[in-house]
Amino acid sequence: MSDKEFNEPPSATAGALDLNRRQFLKILGGGIIVSFVPVFAGDPPEALSAAQPRLPEDFNAFLRIGEDGRVACFTGKIEMGQGIITSLAQMLAEDLDVPLGSVDMVMGDTDLCPWDAGTYGSMSTKYFGPPLRAAAAEARATLIELAAERLGVPKNRLQTSSGVVFDTDAPAKRVPYGDLTKGRRIEKQLAEKPPLKPITGFTISGKATGRTDAVEKVTGKARFAGDIALPEMLYARILRPPAHGARLTDADTSAAEKVPGAQIVRDGDLIAVLHASPDEAARAVDLIEGTYTSPKTGLNDENIFDHLLGVAPPGAVLAETGDLQAGRGIASKVIEATYRQGYVAHAPMETHTACANLDGDKVTVWASTQGPFPAQREVAAALNMPLQNVRIITPFVGGGFGGKNRNRQVVEAARLAKLTGKPVQVTWTRGEEFFYDAFQPAALVKIASGLNASNRIVFWDYHVYFAGGDKAPTFYDVANKRTTAYGGWQETRRAHPFDTGPWRGPNGNTNTFARESHMDVLAAAAGEDPVAFRLTHLQDKRMLRVLEAAGSAFGWSKAVAPSGKGRGVACVIYKGTHVAAMAEVEVDTTSGRCQVKRVVCAQDMGQVVNPEGAKMQVEGCVMMGLGYALTEMIRFRDGKVLDRNFDTYQLPRFSWAPKIETILIENPDLPPQEGGEPAITCMGAVVANAIFDAIGIRFHELPISPERIGQAVKRS
């Protein structure tokens, strides 16, 4: 996930980088250090290609083998549940030939780790993995050279195993890595790729491995930003406007001032209460009477789509094949439809949190963020400090999903620490989290399409509003097709009544819902089984393979929808990953409740570094995707966000959980591709299609809530 605003900055970080390196090398002391830059094999995703030229040229990450034999990997990426703390360590351990347990990941610390654009878009394994493996291989080659000297044995007789170099002719002649690095300091910069281990020789990568952070997390020892406690720390609560666009005209803080121990801070637009107890700070902030202007935008979650159509920028053609007019001319059936999806919240279980500590002219902020380096820049700008005086440390992040690319709370904590001279913690309430969330943008898709007499799609005219991007063009085999975007998903934020941004699977969810729903509409019009209909419109071999794999695992048997079986299918090609999902639902037409009983997901994501981790990501996609499919949509009125907690904003629960089966297609010839996002994009359509199959009602708008099902049943 990305957002152009956060792909930063050429000159500023260059300075920080020099400093990082100096600091870093000082801290390191002895050992073997290999630095490397991610390589962008294949097509970098759209957001990255903008960022790439600005990445530091010389190196982007380090690994170090210490005298104690432990291996540290320093990366600006962060761990928010997606599991790279395990999968990156696995890749490193594999090519360096050390036990997984001897690898320490140092993540998201701007003083220790080299600059990084941010952790989003499931890109870590794909773009960071190959150079990490190469660096590990380089380090291993260096160790063999050192061992040859030490043992007096020619290099070609030496082998490595589990952190030790040994003589293949006399295995007792051996030396541990740690001993080889002792007393030396060897710096290497990866210039060329040394040969990597062949995948057939893997013993760690590609094997199911438990999370390396699991024990910390089940014992309550894992530290999140809000768990940082500093001496004399104050907890802050900030006065918030009732609606977006509301301006503060007056504030009466007299009652709040009477709360013992409360300190009120006012700095321009920022009014906050600080207290040694967070609940007292909360009580005091509630006593502040703010007077605000009340903006009347007239916008709400019902008329937003008309508004968006009205303000949409002119269309731009994203992709085109053949001749639409000619296609239309030979169509015997023309079918048009519009698909919509409202705003969806990220709602990580951990709200935005930060703890800031000012020490002389330096500030350190422990932050729950997906982008420590962008946060560093924001804090430096807000406090008017040189970049190198700001250090962001990212402990474990309690879920991000794209939402923690926004660092407002980091800046708030830093400002308040500066204003009070004390360490300050800002933990957003759930209400603040919903209010300031950068939602997945509401979007619409209009499709005009046609079938010829033999039920082939002969034209596909696709118009997407506010969700333009790489997931809009169809991969189905249609001779005449065109995709026109009226606003991309990221550059149209001003059209929306509040902030929008990357949400797990950016521009994938709305587009896949529209495309895959419409494929089913066409299949029904053709009188064909939805899977069979797709197969006749597919040439892509990887797609054919996942669709067939899903079909056989699911036990799909041919039938024209609505068959009453309540099953659906949806496919996506998401960057380099191919997914076919199938679901079975039961719809209670009285209550309107849709129970998804089973989901089968077949995924080809190239090499799989951690199969267990990949399955967990797919399961996470399925569960989270059920939310936007069935209930999740932000309701709002005139800048007021009406859903502010989980009482009205319904997240998926245990009782919704289907049986989830994940099939990972073996594809060892392709380097690892994205895994954290592709499957979620199928969930809207696979559920909509299964509901149609169950009750014969087609839903064109997400979420397909019990109320909407109930109303539709009544109308039918």
């Binding site: 928010m80 549940g81 997606q82 599991g83 438990g210 999370r211 952070d213 699991a214 024990v215 910390e216 997390k217 089940v218 014992t219 309550g220 020892k221 894992a222 530290r223 999140f224 809000g226 768990d227 406690a229 907890y235 040694a276 107890s277 967070p278 609940d279 007292e280 709602a347 990580p348 279980m349 951990e350 709200t351 474990f396 992040v397 309690g398 879920g399 999903f401 933990t427 309430t429 759930r430 267990e612 967990m616 399961e619 996470g620 996609c621 399925v622 569960m623 989270m624 907690n645 989980f646 009482d647 997240l651 998926p652 629960r653 245990f654 009782s655 959980a657 049986k659 989830i660």
Partner: protein
């Protein structure tokens, strides 16, 4: 109004001088410096703040600290004993029943009290018992399996 409140916390007696109206959640996290109990919603609707009071799962964001006077409170920090993970913790590790881990302490303690009430819960009973604990990462299927595994282990 400061008050002296005594109770047992993770098998040890504690005495707290605190405004008794403050929530148990923040008293645990700040005064007692136990950070394993998490804040998720502050409204009793997510379960991240779950602790055990007299062996029963309670949402610590919803009760005043004065309520636990003279009672036995257990947080996630008290579950592993003598360096050994509790079977529920072990099962969560073995099943990879977590991703970001923020809901995990609340999940484990809710499951703990569920298993106290029912030694051999059916899958449906586990789902019903856990339904008000939210996990945004979507670890649900694995959490149910972990609870089943732990139940089996604990019956032995």
């Amino acid at each position: 109004m400061s008050d002296t409140i005594e109770f047992r916390l993770n098998y040890r007696p504690v005495r707290l001088t605190v405004d008794g109206e403050r929530t148990l959640l923040w008293a645990l996290r700040t005064d007692l410096e136990l950070k394993g109990t998490k804040f998720g919603c502050g409204m009793g609707v997510c379960g991240a703040c779950t602790v055990l009071v007299n062996q029963e799962a309670v949402r610590s964001c919803q009760i005043p600290v004065a309520d636990v006077r003279g009672k036995e409170v257990m947080t996630i920090e008290g579950l592993a004993r003598n360096g050994h993970l509790h079977p529920l913790q072990q099962a969560f590790v073995d099943r990879n029943a977590l991703q970001c881990g923020f809901c995990t302490p609340g999940m484990i303690l809710s499951a703990y009290s569920l298993l106290l009430r029912k030694k051999s819960p059916t899958e449906a009973e586990i789902i019903e018992g856990m339904d008000d604990n939210l996990c945004r990462c979507g670890s649900h299927q694995r959490i149910v399996q972990a609870i089943q595994d732990a139940a089996k282990h604990m019956r032995r």
